[in-house]
Amino acid sequence: MLLACKDLSLSINGAPILRDIDFQLSAGKVLGLIGESGSGKSMTAYSIMRLLPGGSEIGGSIELDGNDLGTFSEAQMCQVRGNDIGMVFQEPMTALNPLLTIGDQVAETVRVHGDASRAQAQQIALDTLRRVELPAEKYSPARYPHELSGGQRQRVVIAMAIALRPRLLIADEPTTALDVTTQAQILTLLRRLVDEDDMGLILISHDLAVVANTADDIAIMRNGRVLDSGPARSIFSQLKHPYTQALYAASAHVPARAGRRVDRAAPLLVVDQVSRDYRLPRQSLFGPRRYFRAVDEVSFTVYRGENVGLVGESGCGKSTLTRAILGLDAIQHGTITVGGEPVLAGMAMPRELRRRMQVVFQDPYGSFNPRHRVARLITEPFHLLDNPPTGSARSRAIDEALESVGLTTADADKFIHEFSGGQRQRVAIARALIIHPELIILDEAVSALDVSVRAQVLDLLAELSGRYQLSYLFISHDLSVVRSVCDRVLVMRRGKLVEQGTTNQIFEQPAHAYTRELIEAVPRLPEAPG
Amino acid sequence: MSTANHLLAAALVLACSSASAARTDITIGMQLEPPNLDPTGAAAAAIDEVVYANIFEGLTRFLPDGSVAPALASSWEVSEDGLQYSFTLRTGVSFHDGTGFDADDVVFSLDRARAEDSTNAQKGLFAGIDSVEATDPATVVVTLSQANGALPFNLAWGDAVIVAPESIEQAKTAPVGTGPFVFSKWVQGDQVEIVRNPDYWGEPAQLEKATFKFISEPTAAFAALMAGDVDAFPVYPAPENLPQLDADPRFSVVLGSTEGETILSINNKLAPFDNKLVRQAVAHAIDRSAIIDGAMFGYGTPIGSHFAPHHPAYLDLTGNSPYDPERARALLAEAGLADGFETTLKLPPPSYARRGGEIIAAQLREVGIKVEISNLEWAQWLEQVFRGKDYGLTIVSHTEPMDIGIYANPEYYFQYDNAELQQLMVDLEATAEDDARSEILQQAQTIISEDYVNGYLFQLAKTGVANAKISGLWENAPTQANDLTKVFWQD
């Protein structure tokens, strides 16, 4: 047995974080550690590495090859880290020292552990970078982290972790910050390394689907405990534990969509040949201005009552397009109309037009002024009305909006920090609904939510769309979400719309190669038992 | 003597310097740095304090007791009508650059000082001179437009020293004179160094080298003395430290007199000060002893008029203005100002003015005169008060010797216009006889005292501090000078 955790518990400053964690991992195997935020999965990893904050107290035992790591001194642990156990982190953008070249950072792992000369370490670093598919011919080891993309940086982090061919690798949400296509590549890479080196891998994720296809064994965590564990196949085929069932159900959830009419004769939002350029800094002092075209001649229509998904990887221009539709930024070419009226950026945009359109943002924490109460927050769009309701009419409107999103009227007097993430998104939706717009733009509106909460919010959105004949422009990088709620899907890549069609068309018979690539990269849950 | 012997001697000097062998260098502390070193081209007292009698000499000179003695002129004769002075010059005198001194240099110097475009600060000294002629290389005849018994006195001033045409261009930064010391170097903002003139015509100086160090902050002055960075401070700027320095056996404190009448100047043309009653009220509201005690820590002699107490013609007129706030209030009421009035008190930087001003403001407040203090830099003071006459009250020490004549000038910043006094001064000019001069001077003192032209406070004390082993420094300050000719270290 490579790694065995027995009755592992952890408390920080007296507050219990982990309780009675038990799991085992053999060489050459992948253990998937799954849980929603706050379940303690990362802390388990840090406990194994013994990289815990001050005031931590560990109980139970962690055995690596039969040696209890708990008995190791800090100096011994330094020998273990990087040598016997490697670790990969979630955020590749910040996990590398910005001031050192990638070659040096990989070589450093070698240098701190062995007697390898500088040249030998450099050679090992080169070889390792090649193993993670960053060959020196294409990606010079003299590059700095900021010169690489997110996926490439994550490969560097992996290279650092495996340079000394450790027997155990811990990957904490290694793909969460990455695009879906990059995620697939990184997962493949990790699996390949496990097989090549006969290494053990703990793959930590909040996403059941990510782990499902890579892991041999699975442990499901919640509130600092392991609730369910076993071989991956049996976990999914049996769904013994109720929490596993719930998690599975939420991940595979498809909201019921009924009672909604799409009026094909009434185009609501028409985007016609829209382009948006960004100014780049001048190359030379008197050189010509250069521009970057973030959105390139995009055209599409959203009809009344229709839910349209817009998917694409980060940087494809979907956020820029959103801002243009909302009239926040000016466009350089083309027109955007809502109900026939042109959208103009800035103060020139008539209030009547703004009134027809509202938005829900991604971050449930950043979307609200923390100093205002809910009643004031959700009535902010009243600014767009010529005669905003006052007195009891205002209270009625607030109550109605809150109730329609499943909150209570008592919530009107609360501050935003008193709500959970899911509830905050409900408040955001209430704010969007309160002036009865025709179109709501959902900008990654469920991306930051845990799966179970996400399922509920998606249900709510589907229900509201039916009840109020609302049109949605549903912007997301997550294809599965889009698939479950949208009538039609638009696929964007590098500023261009590469494909559009009904949801079925897109997912069943993708025409464009990029669409196919995207769909294939989506991790899929194994079939659940009947 | 071999090099080794030299070294040995040097080592011995070093080893014994404090014990037996007398030192031959001195560092003199001064509060203000001279802006340049040409005493004939600018007013600053600091110039004279460095160069007078050390580098430059005049035809006559002041002695430590204020009397006038021959210098480059060994003697002089006055014509019957008092209009012609003929000066006999010393022979064998040469300037520091080696050029010889003769009558032409005297003619050049005096003509330059009294010329139309001259920047001499005391042009008035030469006002009565009609012509200056060299009758032979050792004789100069000065012809006056009217008799002036004070000519030898006037020519003793630092502004009347003899310069050479060959070196005048560089006088501001590298002065060349005939004195017992030769200019060596000037580190602007810090110090001026002079060294002994081996070819001096008279008795050579005893010191090899002297350094004037400029320390404007009183605190720094004290610290420098205590730390031994400065050997003597002839005009020590912080009287509060004197008791402490006096008690220290390392130092000797020398108290002397200066020509500095410290007065509360009053703008005589500005209402309500144009009313003599108001001026008299101010005079009675002032408690001189509190000012001398509080601002000067007891150093200073009360005066009742604009005249130095050590002068033979001095009259003690302090009785004209005793401290009497009741009387002051009554006088104000008589002048129709029973509720008092407001005025300004503009103070130049010296501590006698700043501290004295605060005390006077408090004393005037007691009798109902509200005084707004504003502290000015010298340049602002000259601009606003002295030239602009934009002030109510100010405090300043008039350090020029025998300067009662300023009261005869109605344009002077007091703006005092009294025909009787003006006539007295004209008479004084024409009088050469001592007793008669004395009488005129006493009349003048009485007139301005009884007219309460200004508030007369005290005669500034010369509070010198020096290393106890130094001898030969001037006790008094008949003119602004640090004559080092006779200074030496005792064993």
């Binding site: 909302l326 926040l328 103060m347 002024n369 100093r371 | 605190t219 509080g294 408090a362 203090i373 502290n375």
Partner: protein, 275 residues
């Protein structure tokens, strides 16, 4: 009480409060009249009658420190207010019109002011317009403007990218309205903390200017001038220099601790202490 857990906060608040109280009380009462000179009683050491002794004019030092607190606090407070009143709107405007010529002009002007050594310019201003408390206030105030302009611009720029600001823009609110309604309240913490720091710097600056004779003029007592006047007497009457010196140190210390404490209180995450 949450604030009790912040040691710096209450320690600083207490120290600062002592001096604010002294300043306020001095309007109503001081042990002795600071405008009256009593030269026969000069340079007394601390006693039951004169707690901190008397100065070279026989004035009660304790009373002078009380009234001096008034001067220090008034000068620093007004100077900081100038900085806030002029600087914050500039910063908000620059952020609202980010990358516009207005932003550029405001930021370049800030850089220009920063390029001047502050104390030197303060000395020049007072030298030009004459020394007085008012001119000291102006001199110190001018240097507070870019501090607050820069701070509020940076804070506002950060806030402008936040989604609740986008939401307000989608609700059709104008830039100035958003600045006042959303941006300003959310950077109030920062402004208060910076205000406290500038306040303590203002007290130090006032002391420095008064020390070189360019601050409040006599007979108004001022700590800096008390130090300057005591300097030549420090060897035989050290209490003259010690008490005003301690008054400055403790007030500035109190304000700094208070500022640090406030920062911790507003944002426990970055309880780092001040730069």
């Amino acid at each position: 009480m949450r604030w009790l857990q912040h040691r710096n906060l209450w320690l600083g608040a207490m120290l600062a409060a002592v001096f604010v109280a002294a300043a306020l009380i001095s309007f109503l009462w001081t042990p002795f009249d600071v405008t009256k000179l009593n030269i026969p009683e000069k340079l007394q050491t601390p006693s039951m009658e004169h707690w901190f002794g008397t100065d070279h004019f026989g004035r009660d030092i304790f009373s002078m420190i009380m009234v001096g607190a008034r001067t220090s606090i008034a000068v620093a407070l007004v100077a900081v207010s100038i900085g806030i009143v002029a600087g914050v709107p500039l910063g908000l405007a620059a952020a609202a019109r980010h990358d516009s010529p207005l932003d550029e002009i405001i930021m370049r002007s800030n850089d220009l002011v920063f390029a001047f050594p502050a104390l030197l310019i303060a000395i020049m201003i007072t030298a030009i317009f004459g020394p007085s408390a008012i001119n000291a206030i102006i001199a110190i105030g001018i240097f507070n403007i870019p501090v607050f302009a820069r701070l509020s611009r940076a804070a506002a720029l950060g806030l402008w990218t936040r989604e609740f600001i986008l939401a307000a823009r989608v609700a059709g609110k104008s830039a100035s309205r958003i600045s006042v309604e959303h941006i300003l309240p959310n950077m109030l913490n920062l402004l208060i903390v910076q205000g406290t720091i500038q306040f303590s710097l203002g007290i130090l600056a006032e002391a420095g200017l008064s020390y070189v004779g360019l601050g409040a003029q006599p007979p108004i007592p001022s700590w800096g001038r008390m130090l300057a006047e005591s300097q030549t007497m420090i060897t035989f009457a050290p209490h003259l220099a010690l008490f005003p010196g301690f008054a400055i140190v403790f007030t500035v210390l109190g304000l700094n601790l208070f500022g640090d404490g406030l920062r911790d209180y507003f944002d426990p995450k970055i309880s780092r202490g001040r730069h």
